[in-house]
Each structure stands twice: as C-alpha cells, then as structure tokens.
Amino acid sequence: MTLLEVRDLRAGYGKVDVLFGVSLTASKGELIGIVGPNGAGKSTLFGAIVGTVGLRSGSVFLDGEDISGKRPEDIVRRGLSLVPEGRQIFSGLSVIENLTLGLTGRRDKHGEKGALDRVHDLFPVLTTHRDHQAGMLSGGQQQQLAIARALVADPRVLLLDEPSLGLSPTVVKDVFDRLIAIAQSGTAVVIVEQRAHLVTRLAEQTHVLRAGKVQATLTKEDAADEAKLTAAYFGNSGE
C-alpha cells in the first residue's frame, strides 16, 4: 500500500532550480533511504514534500491525496511529519512541552495521551527527563526527542533529515534501531543520509540523489555491493 508518492518533482529557490524531476514512493511499513553528496538536493526534496520549498512542477500524494502546494501545517495534519536536519527542538522549552507541541499536528485529538505513552515507551529516556529543559539534553537524547515529537502527531509517513548528524556511532545505532521499530509498526519511514552506509543496509530501497536527480535506485542487496554503491554515489566515472 503506497502511502507517499512523489511524481516528477521539480523545485528550487528563487531562480535557482535544485530538483529536476524526482520520483519515488514509500509504502506502509517500508523504510526508504535517500543518499547523496552535499548539494544533491536531499533536504530540498524533503522541503518540497512538506511544503516549505515551492514546487515548480510535479506532484506529491499522501495516501492517494494530492498534497502538492499545501501549507506545511496542513500537510502535517494529513499525516506526514518531518524530523528536520539539526533536530530543531525548542531548546528553551521542557521535554514534555516539546512533545505537547508535536500533538498540534494530530488528526485524532482523543488519542493524545496514548500517543505520549507510546513515545515514552519507545524512548524511555524522555520520561526520565520529562520536565528538563530540552536544550540541556545530549545530542542523542535531543534526536530521540525530535523523532518522538514528530511521532506523537501519529504520522503515516515520517521523513527524517540526517538523523545521524552529530551523533556518536553507538547512539546512531540506537536511533536507527528505533526507526526500524517505527517502520515495523506500519509507518512509512524515509531517511535522508549523507553517510550512505548507515541507511543502505537497513532500507528496502535506497535512492541515490545527485545534482537534483535520482541517479540510481538500489535494493538492499545492490547497496551491499560497495562498487555498485560508489558508482551510483559518485557517478560511473568515480569522480
């Protein structure tokens, strides 16, 4: 069951085009990776999907509904959440206040307590630090908070932009284990990562984005082949 479908997306900033016809899909319970070098357009792609970057053309469908050009807050309320690069938690607010803000995007207001309980189960450290200022948490804890904050909105599709940024390898493994669990619970998870190996070994499919285009789509088996991955990542010439 396809939850997210991006069709021939073109987007950019001002007069500068960044994406040149990107297409991809993500189904229920699927974990999809998007990798590529700096400036490939990965974050722009997420921005275009969630409505913070203007579309030139193309469409985004969420569970069959065209959400292209809708406002970010309306897109979140329809069930698509983004964990932005650098986490962007509200450091001056407490952990529970951050989580409560995440509830703003829920479609079902009755399930708020259940949603908070679920993320506390998934990230027990957030219970321990419930009333602590979010800015005082460690990097890994802040990342968990950012993911939890997106999850309480009960998204059908969860986008994560560079979730490993600034985290130690142990913490990264912990975070990615939780992401697998989230996907297994039925959410479509799409992860943008510059460190390709982190996501290629977990994702059912990994799209290699370069110069604003999907240059290759690799299965888990394809991505295990270092030569194939390197060729897709840097281009056939290996430049």
């Binding site: 979140v76 932005p84 962007q88 938690i89 509200f90 607010l93 803000l101």
Partner: protein
C-alpha cells in the same frame, strides 16, 4: 514540585503588586494616584507581554487598542447631560449621547473594543514578520490616532473627554490588575502560549509540527488587544479624563520601555519593569519639581526623567537585552540545610 514552582511564578508577582499598591497607595492622595496610574500602565505592559513577549514580534500598535478601550469606556460613562451640553461633543452620534453605562460594564465594553480592533487588524498584520510587523503595527497606531483626533462624531476629537467616573477605591484597580495577571499567566502556560513561544524560538521548525504561526499569533494579538483595551480604559478612569494624545507616542514608548527593561518574556519581567521604571520615574519627577526626597532637595532639569528612561532602554538593549529578569519567572530559591 512543578506545581508549587508554577504557583510561585504567579503568586510572587501578585503579592509584590498588592504590597506595592497598599504601601504606596495608603500613604497619601498622591500615592493613591501613583498606584492607580501605575496599575493601569502595568495592565498595558501585560498586554504587550502577552503578544510581544511570547511571540518575539514587536508591536508599536497596542496604543491603538488602548485608545479604543479608553474612548469606548469614556463615552458611555460620561453622563448624558454633559455630553449634550459639552461644546466638544456637540457632533457626537445621537445614540452615543443617549448611551450610558456604569464603570464596570464600560470596562467590559473596552475589553470587547480592544479585542475587536486587534482581532480584525490581526487578520492582516499577523501575516507579517520582523521589521515589517513592527512598522505595520506603528501604522495602525497612526490610523487610530487620526481617527480619534479628527473625528468628533465618536469622541471629543483633539479635545479631552471630561467627567469620567474615577476609581473610588484602591481595591478596584488592584483586583482588575490581579485578574489580568491571572489571565496572562494562564495564557502563558496554556498550549496556545507554549506554541507561541515555540514559534518565537524557531519560526522555521514550528510549521513542521503542524503549527500555524499566523493563527497562534492572532490568538495572542486578540487577547493582548482585549487587555490593552482594559488598560486604556483603566488609565482613563484614573484621571477621570481621556484625550487621544495620552495614548500616542509617549504612552507607547513608556509601556514598551517598562516591558523591555524588566524582560519581555516573563510575567515577572513585566512586573519588575513596570515597578522599576515607575519608581525611578517618580524620584526623577520629584527632582524635576524640586520636591524634597528624604529631606534633601536635588534639582534636575525638566525632561531628565524621559532621557534617563530612554538611556536605560538603550543600555538594556546593549548589555542585557533580555531585561533585568533575563526572561525568568519569579522564583524563591529553597534554602539548603547544613549537614
């Protein structure tokens, strides 16, 4: 623990405001007047705190809501016989001549007027950010000023509206102020208040959570407009008179200074700023008027008070931009027991 600390954040400022009111207000008639006008200004500062402090968007336009509140309350509490016979009110709409309300219903009208003007103007203004928002709210103040200054169908125009019933007891403005503090505090800890502070902290991250920045700002702007309407009306009933000039630039500058000097982000900051600026202002005013302070007469030139407050604002913005309280709420540290 959390509940106690939160109550402390509310009760601390309330007790200090009550203490100030009774200590100064019961000294003399002059003291009573100082307290009543300070509380009226404080309500306006609280209005600014609700919007400016929580959203981080500067507003120069709240004087407009105070104007609407003051004139709404003033017109309906001025006795009909005065409205009929007053030269400056001879062009008043007839229904306004006949309309008479008591002070408290008129304060509700002032709240409604402030909320209505803020709500309607906010539909457009809340789409703006940063400098554009500040300038647009300043334009709103200019529009309101010119409406009241030149239109003598709804008020006395450039003249003063006289014979408003003044507050009879010290308790009246004190109770109103405490009620406003409670409303402001409850808004601050509500989901809307938290959401607004989140948009102040990171306006880019907020929409990614499904937060409509325009909507939460509009809610706060309307609430703060209602409070400013009340503050304006209270100011009118302290003096027993309303004049449009009273709510223009000096009023805007004074109340914004109080908020910024104290710390715009907290109820405690608004309280400290108002009391501090009032206290310093009164001492300097006495010096300007060559009145003795503790038996000593110090003379300073007229206008020194305004200059000192303006310079304090500059100093604060340069070296302590979050105000005296650094945006913190009132909190008494628990004494540690020795082992």
């Amino acid at each position: 623990m959390t509940t106690r600390l939160r109550l402390q954040e509310l009760l601390g400022p309330i007790l200090i405001v009550i203490a100030f009111s009774y200590v100064v207000g019961l000294q003399s008639a002059q003291g009573l007047l100082i307290v009543q006008s300070t509380l009226a200004l404080f309500v306006m500062v609280l209005a600014l705190h609700v919007f400016v402090g929580n959203s981080g968007v500067l507003s120069f336009g709240h004087g407009a809501f105070a104007m609407f509140g003051a004139f709404a309350s003033g017109i309906v509490t001025t006795p009909s016989n005065i409205k009929e016979n007053s030269l400056q009110l001879q062009n008043l709409y007839p229904f306004l001549v006949d309309l008479n309300l008591g002070m408290y219903p008129s304060l509700l009208l002032a709240i409604a007027a402030g909320a209505l003007v803020a709500g309607l103007s906010g539909l457009l203004l809340m789409r703006l950010n940063g400098l554009a928002a500040g300038i647009a709210t300043f334009a709103l103040l200019g529009v309101a000023y010119n409406i009241f200054f030149y239109n003598n169908r709804i008020g006395p125009g450039s003249q003063a509206l006289l014979a408003l019933p003044p507050f009879q007891f010290l308790e009246e403005p004190v109770v109103l102020t405490v009620l406003v503090m409670l409303v402001v505090y409850l808004f601050g800890i509500s989901r809307a208040g938290r959401t607004l502070r989140a948009t102040r902290e990171d306006p880019l991250a907020a929409p990614a959570l499904g937060i409509s920045i325009t909507r939460v700002r509009w809610i706060a702007f309307t609430l703060s407009g209602a409070i400013a309407g009340l503050g304006g009306a209270m100011f009118a009933h302290v003096a027993g008179t309303v004049q449009v000039q009273d709510y223009y630039l000096p009023y805007t500058f004074m109340t914004l200074s109080m908020l910024i000097i104290g710390g715009s982000a907290s109820l405690w900051g608004a309280t400290v700023g108002t009391l501090l600026v009032t206290g310093i202002g009164q001492i300097l005013l006495m010096m300007e008027q060559q009145k003795p302070i503790l038996g000593i007469v110090v003379h300073i030139p007229n206008g020194t008070r305004a200059i000192v407050i303006a310079l304090s604002l500059v100093v604060m913005l340069l070296w302590r931009s979050e105000g005296v309280t650094q945006g913190r709420e009132f909190k008494i540290g628990m004494p540690k027991l020795r082992k």
